[in-house]
């Protein structure tokens, strides 16, 4: 029988599913993935970690608990310290394997290799450890990794291309309002966690943009002007996306999704808002926690869209009708605002 490896559908799953799934499948494992997030996931997760943890982390633990039903032989919980030079993921994500092991729940053995590319960019030991329960053949492992990387890249590219394809391009010149949904992948794509925000916006007539529709290179480029390099991969992604998006012509808006208690969002989100204000782009900041309700969200989105549509005609020249932006926005993430529509939590 194949070895069964469980992967929780949470956190970095959304960035790397194809990579991990292909990798393990090629090495001969059966990959089990937990189902979509639901109420139970949250309840289970809440019991496994301290109250102060952020919503996505709670959900992550809920998924590990739900995976147990499928009886995997191993759980894949890599310690993702850093996926590029000079930038980290997040302290809580780095600590995941330790938190999981400190918990009271019986867990299958963990596969918890450390991915740390912060100084050397070397991942040999990561691969060896990741594959160790399946094979010791290094060549086989590196071949599997190579193919898995290609598949993941192909998928990422597809997301990019989609944004450029003529088909959608045509739709984009139409009447729909470009709306950037900004945040960590696991906040954008977990529909339970974000209360179906993608569907809502789409139904309200928005043309949705997400961070992966801008290439890594252009994102990197645009944040080079910051006086101090951002050392969070998520942070770079968010600030880079905001800048790329703000360069698109025409009226548009941004919905920022952050998690309650997220250390990174508290800083980066604030910088993004300051930037958006300076650039004269309306934004809505939504902080998600386990008490967020759908009705509140709906109302806030509607109010936000009304505000944009209402001021749309004024905005035809792409310059804020509320005065020229103050100073040069590039050196700063932005300037504190008057018309940014921001509230921290909704009922």
């Amino acid at each position: 029988m194949n070895i069964r490896i469980g992967i929780p559908r949470a956190l970095l799953y959304y960035n790397y599913v194809t990579l991990w799934k292909t990798f393990f499948t090629l090495l001969g494992a059966e990959v089990l993935i937990s189902g979509y997030t639901n109420k139970l996931t949250l309840d289970l997760g809440r019991d496994m970690v301290v109250d102060e943890a952020c919503l996505p982390v709670k959900i992550f633990f809920g998924h590990t608990a739900q995976l147990l039903e499928q009886k995997p032989d191993f759980l894949f919980v890599p310690r993702m310290v850093s996926v590029e030079k000079s930038a980290y993921i997040c302290p809580k994500i780095i600590g995941l394997p330790d938190i999981l092991e400190a918990g009271k729940k019986e867990m299958p053995a963990l596969i918890k290799p450390t991915m740390n590319m912060v100084s050397t960019g070397n991942i040999d030991s990561f691969l060896r450890e990741a594959g160790s329960c399946l094979t010791t053949d290094r060549r086989k492992i590196s071949r599997a990794w190579k193919i898995a990387r290609q598949e993941q890249n192909a998928e990422d590219r597809q997301a990019l291309d989609k944004s450029r394809s003529t088909e959608i391009g045509a739709a984009r010149t139409g009447s729909k309002l470009p709306m950037l949904l900004l945040g960590h992948r696991y906040n954008l794509y977990d529909d339970f966690l974000n209360l179906n925000i993608r569907k809502r916006l789409w139904q309200m007539g928005c043309d949705l943009w997400t961070p992966e529709q801008f290439s890594e290179e252009s994102k990197e480029d645009t944040i080079k002007t910051l006086p101090k390099a951002i050392f969070w991969t998520f942070g770079k992604d968010i600030l880079g996306t905001v800048r790329c998006f703000s360069r698109l012509p025409g009226p548009k808006g941004v919905v920022i999704i952050s998690s309650f208690g997220c250390g990174i969002d508290s800083f980066i989100g604030n910088m993004a808002m300051r930037y958006l204000h300076k650039a004269g782009i309306p934004y809505l900041n939504i902080t998600l926690d386990e008490h967020s309700g759908e009705a509140g969200l709906e109302t806030r989105l509607e109010a936000f869209l009304d505000m944009i549509r209402w001021r749309r005609p004024f905005n035809e020249d792409h310059i804020s009708s509320y005065g020229t932006p103050l100073g040069d926005p590039e050196g700063y993430a932005g300037i504190h605002g008057v018309y940014g529509y921001s509230a921290t939590s909704y009922q």
Partner: protein, 346 residues
């Protein structure tokens, strides 16, 4: 060294509320207070900020960047000098200072830095003494009064001789405080995020409170240690060094930023040394300490040591914290008595 140092007024309610009004709502408490400090220093005419930096993964390394943006937006133009940790090293640090003080010789800069550092070391040594005296003194608060006074004299010292004298005097005075050496006290390890450990205002005086409640407190971090490690890459001597972090395994096996590993490590080590309990203190939403907090239950179970975690933010009230500390102290006494009891039975 040829420029005026403006010390922001001591952190107060006003500092905090200035910070809270202008910082992002979910930023951690140290940032809010820090921002408030800068705004108050500005009112006194400061125009340049020197502060420490960092390269992640925790938020501290981006304080300068975010604070600069916030201050700029408020119309406060500050020059901010960030001293990055030793990656680029001590030389860089001196260069930056030199830039500020162009006419001053290298020699004087080094002297200045050394003096400042020595001051931190001495203050830490005194503090350890105070921690020992607090639960035992006849009149509560005597040690703290003397300590507060000696902080001032140490601060005024202009050279190493004056400093040594101020230190000697303070130590002498502390040792003469009337106290009850026989008194039985609890031993508590105070661990957590550095700012809340070092700034009594931020932690609602947790350390003092524990002392007055009859516990001798040992902290997981001291200022001199932090300066040494953070800015000088551990090159200097004299710091109160404890190196707790290496004891964090098998509970926390990787650096997660901030001082989570020190917290866990101190917990593990102190449990082994017969401490009665651990109190962890951290700003609300502090990422590394949340990791530590999530792991502490297993430390507590394995090593049989009670742990109390307290988060502080601008809303936390003294009452609540005090009650929780009292209850914790009671629990520790209870545990100690029952242990003693067991011992006498067998």
């Amino acid at each position: 060294m040829g420029f005026t140092v403006i010390v922001p007024p001591p952190t107060s309610k006003r500092t905090l509320s200035l910070g809270v009004q202008n910082a992002p709502e979910f930023a951690c408490l140290p940032l809010k207070i820090n921002l408030g400090n800068f705004m108050e220093a500005r009112e006194l005419g400061a125009d340049t900020i020197i502060m420490a930096g960092g390269v992640g993964p925790c938020r501290f390394g981006l304080y300068a960047q975010l604070e600069k943006e916030i201050l700029e937006d408020l119309g406060c133009h500050y020059e901010i000098l960030v001293l990055e940790p030793p990656e680029r090293g001590i030389i860089d640090f001196f260069k930056k200072i030199r830039k500020l003080t162009e006419k001053v010789s290298w020699w004087r800069i080094i002297q200045g830095v050394r003096l400042g550092y020595k001051k931190a070391c001495f203050v830490d040594k005194l503090e350890i003494l105070v921690q020992e005296i607090r639960p035992r003194e006849n009149e509560l608060g005597t040690a703290d009064k003397i300590f507060a006074h000696s902080l001032k004299t140490i601060d005024k010292a202009n050279n190493l001789d004056e400093l040594a004298e101020a230190y000697g005097l303070a130590k002498e005075k502390l040792l003469h405080i009337p106290r009850n050496e026989e008194k039985e006290v609890l031993k508590i390890g105070l661990v957590g995020e550095i700012y809340t450990l070092l700034e009594p205002f931020a932690s609602q005086d947790i350390e003092k409170r524990l002392g007055y409640l009859g516990a001798q407190v040992t902290r997981s971090l001291y200022l001199s240690e932090w300066i040494n490690e953070h800015l000088f890459g551990g090159l200097l001597s004299g710091a109160v060094r404890q190196g707790f972090s290496k004891h964090a395994g098998p509970f926390l096996n990787h650096f997660v930023g901030g001082h989570a590993r020190e917290s866990i490590g101190a917990g593990v080590l102190l449990a082994g040394e017969g401490f009665d309990g651990i109190v962890q203190v951290a700003p609300l939403t502090c990422m590394p300490e949340i990791v530590a907090h999530s792991i502490f239950p297993s430390v507590s179970d394995t090593l049989d040591i009670p742990v109390l975690t307290i988060y502080v933010d601008e809303l936390s009230g003294q009452e609540g914290i005090h009650t929780r500390l009292e209850a914790f102290i009671d629990l520790l006494w209870g545990k100690r008595f029952s242990l003693d009891h067991e011992k006498t039975i067998c």
